[in-house]
Symmetry: C2
Subunit: 216 residues, 2 copies
């Protein structure tokens, strides 16, 4: 039985693949696991039926038999644990790849989400223009450290892992900003992720949802 | 051989146990694993020797034989995988407990960190007073949903798990604010966590570092 995930009925980024279902789709494509998608509207996401699956009323969720999961990081980890290809077999290398999963979501993503929150919710405030450089500089601090660690390696720690998958999707949230281009090492890293056939299949699948919902 | 973790030489919260080493200490105490602590100063944290362990120049790190880890979530997960007591044996229950680990760090902690960043870095800005209620309301949104899900249960999903451990430490970062008290369900949840003997031992250990560094 194939798992079912949820995704936005209408992608707020107009099919750029920045919503968190992209991570789960990509992981499923990397391991070759077919899946179903149930689309939910913004209002459905906040209703009790969806909140039973996701306490914070968001997407994605993951259902597989008796198991229901939320949190994209946990879902990617679950997929990586069930299949080979996303986490190394060696115990130490596996623990380090998991550290990069947490780093992507708890160290790199929060300042990037802050920027999104500022743009989305504080653009009309009189402090917006003055505060924006502070928010961007906090992102630059993290990206500089990440670029330094990555250096001229292809991936964060040996072979491509779920840590890279999450990191690339987190960095892609900056696609609307020019900040990422200030770090050529990271732009090239994101491009390597996007060039993977599994990424392309996942990207095309989420884009098809947006295109179908917006016939023109 | 016991693992060694790193912690602040001088706790910025004056021994309140809000730094991220507390999570790792608590996990180690829950499973009964003795550990060593290496204290690092703020300047040492940013030097190459420490950055080799932690790319973002922070604490805690975790060293055990050939393995070096960073990210408190990943370290707690590693400890939970090596010992029993922090994650259920049943595969589905285990996946759900891991989802709560990610929820604590990627859904609940970021708006709480935002508040800390505002207080620490934007207090002197002319927008501080106007913006603070927006930041606090974003926290309230998450806490309301979390309280709703927890309801009258003791822990987030069955028995106490690493998900609860991380969630309690994340909520404790609000101890300097009155927001947590608006959610009696969550205050009581944090108090249940703090009442665990392993929490007390971990708390006393980090407090002893602060007390020793500040004899008066």
């Amino acid at each position: 039985m194939n798992p079912t995930i949820t995704a936005f009925e209408r992608s707020p980024d107009r099919g750029k693949g920045q919503a968190r279902d992209m991570r789960v789709r990509w992981a499923l494509e990397e391991v070759g696991q077919p899946y179903g998608v149930r689309l939910v509207s913004f209002s459905e996401m906040k209703e009790p039926a969806h909140r039973a699956l996701h306490p914070f009323g968001q997407i994605p969720t993951y259902e597989e038999g008796d198991l229901a999961l939320f949190e994209s990081g946990a879902i990617v980890f679950h997929i990586a644990g069930r299949h080979s290809g996303l986490l190394p077999d060696d115990a130490n290398a596996r623990a380090r790849a998991i550290a990069w999963m947490f780093a992507a979501l708890s160290t790199i993503e929060p300042p990037i989400v802050d920027l999104g929150v500022a743009v989305l919710l504080e653009r009309d405030r009189n402090w917006y223009a003055q505060r924006l450089p502070l928010v961007e500089d906090r992102i630059r601090g993290r990206l500089g450290e990440l670029a330094e660690r990555l250096g001229d390696a292809d991936w964060l720690d040996g072979a491509f892992s779920a840590g890279d998958l999450l990191m690339v999707t987190v960095l892609r949230r900056l696609n609307g900003s020019a900040i990422l281009q200030e770090y050529p090492v990271l732009s090239a890293y994101v491009a390597r992720g996007e060039a993977r056939p599994a990424f392309r299949r996942a990207f095309d699948a989420q884009l098809a949802v947006f295109t179908a919902a917006s016939p023109d």
